[in-house]
């Protein structure tokens, strides 16, 4: 009687374990991620073999395989950053749509705003100069120059012309 009870107990435990293990395995596996979720990551990556083609719109078989890899990694519970890091480790930083802020790549982030600021400064200076020139009254042939100097220059010029004729 005691042996039968022990047998029943072991059997119950076995049934319980066998019923729980598949549930645990299934719950670890995420539902198949949608195309939108896959493309949200794929558009942050570029095809490693085609020139300048984002992964989400790339039509080649290789890109299709990479999108399926992203889907699989998402299903395995990987985060977008982990997936992007996998691509960088495998294919290099060139696959990133947004280059990393490291090495010479930081120039990409610094030069455009710097060029914009320099442009704004130059325009501001130019406008200020034009405004000053418009405000000053015309005082002869050369605006803003000393009238005495201009008169002297003009008289010498006329004298030279008279000598030549």
């Amino acid at each position: 009687m005691k042996t039968k009870t022990l047998f029943d107990l072991v059997l119950c435990m076995l049934i319980f374990i066998l019923s729980v293990v598949p549930v645990a395995t299934v719950s670890a596996q995420q539902p198949t991620p949608s195309d939108d979720k896959v493309n949200a990551i794929a558009r942050q990556l570029y095809c490693p073999i085609c020139e300048n083609t984002p992964l989400d719109v790339c039509p080649t078989q290789a890109c299709h395989d990479w999108r399926e890899l992203i889907r699989q990694m998402l299903a395995d519970g990987k985060t977008p950053n982990e997936i992007k890091q996998y691509f960088v480790d495998h294919y290099g930083a060139r696959v990133l749509a947004e280059p990393p802020r490291a090495g010479l790549s930081w120039l990409i982030y610094v030069i455009p705003p710097l060029a914009f600021l320099i442009g704004v400064f130059l325009l501001f200076r130019a406008f200020r100069t034009w405004k000053q020139l418009r405000k000053e009254p015309a005082t002869g042939a050369v605006a803003g120059s000393d009238p005495a100097l201009v008169d002297e220059y003009a008289s010498r010029l006329e004298e030279e012309l008279r000598k030549r004729t």
Partner: protein
């Protein structure tokens, strides 16, 4: 007189101060040099025929080993002829070439004077392993992690490509596109082997 006019205090000064102009020009020239170097690098491989091949390490796929290690480097193969074959599972002509490469490996393997290295270029690991299984490739193979090995040989690679390095680590031969036959592979390797 003209100088006097130009130096007159009433004439408004034009342009930025000299130091700003120098700074802008130096910056622009530096930017152009960087751009030029980048374009030059993008068009030219690091090495060409006759030059010493820089060392690289190839981490092998899980099912592959060479001399009981799961990675191999070029310096560790010094004294042997090294055949570096770039391939990918998505490359149609790589599939045409694969049986001949494996046959060549079988031909040279017993002597131990020639080592074949398969470098898988930008691929999905599972597809690459399917490819290797399909063509029963047994020579050491691994992915070009981070695309670090390929630019040494060719920055604009056209798959497949094969490079043959002599016993001193000098690049002696390159095949752009697939080898047409086993005989062609042997024709490229044999002159580098002593006693053949």
């Amino acid at each position: 007189m003209e100088q006097n006019l130009a130096n007159s205090p009433d004439v408004p000064r034009r342009g930025a101060p000299l130091w700003v102009q120098i700074l802008v020009w130096v910056g622009l020239i530096a930017l152009l040099v960087l751009l030029g170097l980048g374009l030059f690098r993008a068009q030219h491989p690091i090495i060409s025929i006759g030059s010493k091949v820089p060392d690289f390490t190839l981490k092998l796929f899980d099912d592959y080993q060479y001399q009981h290690a799961n990675q191999t480097s070029l310096t560790s193969l010094h004294g042997k002829v090294v055949v570096v074959n770039f391939w990918a599972s998505w490359c149609v002509t790589c599939a045409d070439e694969a049986p001949d490469m494996e046959a060549a490996w079988h031909y040279y393997q017993p002597d131990g004077q020639v080592v074949f290295l398969g470098v898988d270029y930008t691929d999905v690991d599972s597809k690459a392993l399917d490819f290797l299984t399909k063509f029963e490739i047994t020579y050491p193979n691994g992915p070009d992690l981070g695309t670090r090995i390929t630019p040494i040989f060719n920055r604009n690679i056209a798959m497949p490509e094969t490079y043959i390095i002599d016993q001193q680590g000098i690049l002696r031969y390159k095949q752009i596109g697939p080898f047409p036959s086993l005989a062609e592979i042997r024709t490229a390797i044999d002159p580098l082997l002593s006693g053949r």
